[in-house]
C-alpha cells in the first residue's frame, strides 16, 4: 500500500519531467508548446491527487447523501483556474508561432537564431 499511495505522485513527477525535457531540449516551437502543456498537466495531476480522500466522493451534495465523505474541493477549484490559464498560454503561444512562421518561414529555433544572427551582423 505504501507503493500505491505514492504512485500517483511519481507518475505526476515523471510526466512533469517528460514535459519539461520537451520544453528545454526540443527546438521546434510547436513542440515546445506541447511540452509546456504536458508540463502543466502534470502539475494539475499533482494537485488533484492531494485532494482525494479514500472512500470519498466528488464534493457535490446529492439529495440522498446525508453521511458522505467528500474529497477536497479546494484543489479542484485551483486546478480549474490553472487549466484555463494553461489553455490561454497555449493559444497565445500558438499565435506567436504562427506569426513567427509568417515572418521567418520556419518554426525551428535554430534556423531562426541563424537568421537573427545574420540580421544583427548586417545591421552593424
Amino acid at each position: 500500500m505504501e507503493f500505491l499511495g505514492l504512485y500517483n505522485y511519481w507518475i505526476a513527477v515523471v510526466l512533469l519531467m517528460s514535459g519539461f525535457y520537451a520544453v528545454i531540449a526540443k527546438r521546434n516551437l510547436v513542440k515546445k508548446l506541447i511540452g509546456l502543456s504536458l508540463f502543466q498537466a502534470a502539475v494539475f495531476l499533482l494537485y488533484i491527487t492531494m485532494g482525494k480522500v479514500e472512500g470519498g466522493t466528488a464534493p457535490i451534495f446529492t439529495s440522498a447523501s446525508a453521511e458522505q465523505i467528500f474529497s477536497n474541493p479546494l484543489p479542484q477549484v485551483l486546478i480549474l483556474t490553472a487549466i484555463v490559464v494553461g489553455i490561454s498560454t497555449t493559444a497565445l503561444g500558438l499565435a506567436i508561432v504562427v506569426r513567427t512562421k509568417e515572418e521567418y518561414s520556419t518554426i525551428e529555433e535554430d534556423e531562426i537564431q541563424q537568421m537573427d544572427c545574420q540580421e544583427n551582423v548586417a545591421s552593424e
Partner: protein
C-alpha cells in the same frame, strides 16, 4: 469620497482591470488611449492615497466578498506593497503619457485598442500581485501580467520581437509553473493558501521534505520571472525588441514585482519556520547577485544597441536589488527596496529618453547617434540625468540606494570589503557604458546615413513626461524621505517575521 477609502485596495486592481474591456470596445484608438491613461492616472492617485493610509495606520486588509481569510481571499497593503504600487502605477502613467507619440511609429493604428487593453491588464496584473495576500491569487495575477506583457512585447515593429517574446513566454510559463508546484507543496503540508496563515501553520510542520523542496521551487520559479542571473536569458531581447514605451513600463517594474513576491514569500513564509533558511537564502542569492552585477555590466559595456545596453544594465541592477536582500538584515532590505524604487526612476527616465531619440533616429545603435545631442539637447540631457542616476552620482535618486547598500554591507564582517568592491566596480562599469553613449551623442560626428536635417528635437507631448521623470530623479535624490521611510518600515516588517 471617504466612503470609498476602505475599498481602495480592491479598486487599485479593479479600475485598470475593468477599463481594459472598455478600451477594446472603443471605436477609436485615441479614445482607448485616453481611457487607458485616465485609468492609469486614477490608479496612481489610488496608490498615493494608499501610501498615505499605510503611513497613518499601518497595514490595510480588505476581504474579498467579505469572506474572512483563509477561507476567502484577502487583500493586504503594507509599506512594501505601497512603495511598489507607486512604482508600478507611476511607470505606467508616465509611459502612457508618452505613448501616443512614440507608438504611432511602431504599432498599427487599428491594433492599438487591443494594445492599450493589454497595457491596462498588465497594470492590473502587476498591482494585483502587489495587493493580494493569497499565494494562489498571486499566480493568477502573475499570469494576467505575464500574458499581457507578452502581447505588449510582441507588438514590437521588428520581427525579432517574435522569437524574443516566445522565449519569454516559455521561460515565464516555466517560472510560473514552478511557483505553482511550490505553492502546491506548501498547501499540501499546511492546507491553506493565505500567506499569513501559511506562516502560522508552517510553524507546526517544520522542516519536512516537501516544504524544503517547495522553498526551492518557489525561489527558482520567481528567480526565472525576475530575470536573476543566470536565469535572465529572456530579458535582453525581450526589452530590446519591444515597443519603446513598453520597455519603459516593463523595465521599470515588471521584474521587480517578481522579486517582491520572492522576498515576501521567503521572509513571510519560510524564513521564520525553516532552520538555517536565512543562511541558505543568503548564500544561494549572494553569489548570483555578485556575478549578475559583474557579468551583465561587462556585457553592457560592449553592447552597441542602446536598448540592449540598458537591458543588460537592468540585469546588473537586479543584481544590486538581490544583493541587498541577500544580506538578510534590516539595512540590506531597506537598500533593496529603495533600489527598486530608485532604479525604476532611473531606468524609466533613460528608456523614456531613448523613446524620444527613437522618433528621429531610426535604429537605436550607438553608431547612429553621433552628435545628436546638438539637435536634441533636451532628450540627451534627460538621458544623461537617467544615466547619472543609474551610476549613482550624488544628487540623483540612484545615489541614495547605493549609499544605503554600501552602509548595509558594512555589517557583513569580513565579506564587507569584497561586497563594497563589487558595488564600486559595478558603478565604475556603469560610468563606462553610460559615458560611451554620452560621448558619442555629444562629441561624435553625425552618422552618414541620415541627413542632419531629419534629426530634430522630440515633440513636447513626449518631452514633458520625460522631463517630469528627470525632475523626479533629482527630487528624490535630494529629498529621499518618503521612499526611505517606506523602505525602512517595509524592511522592519520583513525582519519581524525572522523570529
Amino acid at each position: 469620497m471617504s466612503s470609498w477609502t476602505p475599498h481602495l485596495p480592491a479598486l487599485q486592481v479593479v479600475v485598470p482591470l475593468m477599463t481594459a474591456p472598455l478600451a477594446v470596445l472603443m471605436p477609436d484608438r485615441r479614445l482607448s488611449w485616453a481611457l487607458a491613461t485616465a485609468a492609469s492616472l486614477c490608479a496612481l492617485a489610488i496608490a498615493i492615497v494608499l501610501v498615505g493610509e499605510v503611513r497613518d495606520q499601518g497595514n490595510i486588509v480588505y476581504e474579498m466578498g467579505l469572506w474572512a481569510p483563509p477561507y476567502g481571499i484577502a487583500l493586504g497593503v503594507d509599506a512594501m506593497s505601497a512603495l511598489l504600487l507607486l512604482v508600478v502605477t507611476g511607470a505606467s502613467s508616465f509611459a502612457l503619457l508618452a505613448a501616443p507619440t512614440s507608438l504611432s511609429h511602431e504599432v498599427g493604428h487599428e491594433r492599438q485598442s487591443y494594445f492599450y487593453a493589454a497595457w491596462l491588464l498588465a497594470l492590473a496584473g502587476l498591482s494585483g500581485i502587489l495587493v493580494t495576500a493569497d499565494a494562489f491569487n498571486i499566480f493568477v495575477f502573475m499570469e494576467i501580467s505575464s500574458l499581457s506583457a507578452y502581447i505588449l512585447i510582441a507588438g514590437g515593429p521588428d520581427r525579432r520581437a517574435l522569437p524574443a517574446v516566445f522565449k519569454y513566454l516559455v521561460m515565464g510559463t516555466i517560472g510560473a509553473t514552478f511557483y505553482l508546484i511550490g505553492v502546491g507543496l506548501v498547501y499540501m503540508m499546511t492546507g491553506t493558501l493565505n500567506l499569513a496563515d501559511m506562516e502560522l501553520r508552517l510553524a507546526d510542520v517544520g522542516d519536512v521534505k516537501p516544504i524544503l523542496v517547495a522553498a526551492g521551487f518557489i525561489t527558482v520559479g520567481l528567480a526565472l520571472k525576475a530575470a536573476i542571473f543566470p536565469l535572465h536569458v529572456w530579458l535582453p531581447n525581450a526589452y530590446t525588441f519591444a515597443p519603446n514605451v513598453v520597455t519603459v513600463f516593463l523595465a521599470a517594474c515588471a521584474t521587480k514585482i517578481s522579486i517582491y513576491v520572492l522576498i515576501r514569500f521567503d521572509f513571510f513564509v519560510f524564513q521564520g519556520n525553516l532552520t538555517a533558511h536565512d543562511w541558505q537564502f543568503s548564500y544561494f542569492l549572494m553569489p548570483l547577485a555578485v556575478l549578475g552585477i559583474l557579468v551583465a555590466s561587462t556585457v553592457a559595456i560592449f553592447e552597441s544597441n542602446l536598448k540592449r545596453l540598458l537591458a543588460w544594465s537592468s540585469v546588473a541592477q537586479i543584481g544590486y536589488i538581490m544583493l541587498g536582500a541577500s544580506l538578510v538584515s534590516a539595512a540590506g532590505l531597506t537598500a533593496s527596496m529603495l533600489h527598486m524604487f530608485n532604479h525604476a526612476l532611473a531606468k524609466g527616465t533613460a528608456f523614456l529618453a531613448l523613446s524620444c531619440l527613437a522618433l528621429s533616429v531610426s535604429r537605436l545603435d550607438i553608431k547612429n547617434i553621433g552628435g545628436v545631442a546638438r539637435r536634441m539637447p533636451w532628450t540627451m540631457a534627460a538621458f544623461v540625468v537617467g544615466g547619472l542616476s543609474l551610476i549613482g552620482v550624488p544628487g540623483t535618486a540612484g545615489f541614495i540606494s547605493k549609499w544605503y547598500l554600501i552602509s548595509a554591507t558594512l555589517d557583513m564582517g569580513n565579506l564587507a570589503p569584497a561586497l563594497i568592491a563589487v558595488i564600486l566596480l559595478g558603478s565604475v562599469m556603469a560610468v563606462v557604458y553610460v559615458w560611451r553613449v554620452v560621448e558619442i551623442a555629444y562629441f561624435g560626428q553625425g552618422a552618414g546615413t541620415i541627413t542632419d536635417d531629419y534629426i530634430q528635437e522630440a515633440p513636447l507631448a513626449i518631452l514633458i513626461p520625460t522631463w517630469i521623470a528627470v525632475l523626479l530623479n533629482i527630487w528624490f535624490g535630494l529629498t529621499p524621505a518618503l521612499p526611505v521611510e517606506l523602505s525602512t518600515s517595509a524592511a522592519e516588517l520583513l525582519m519581524e517575521h525572522l523570529r
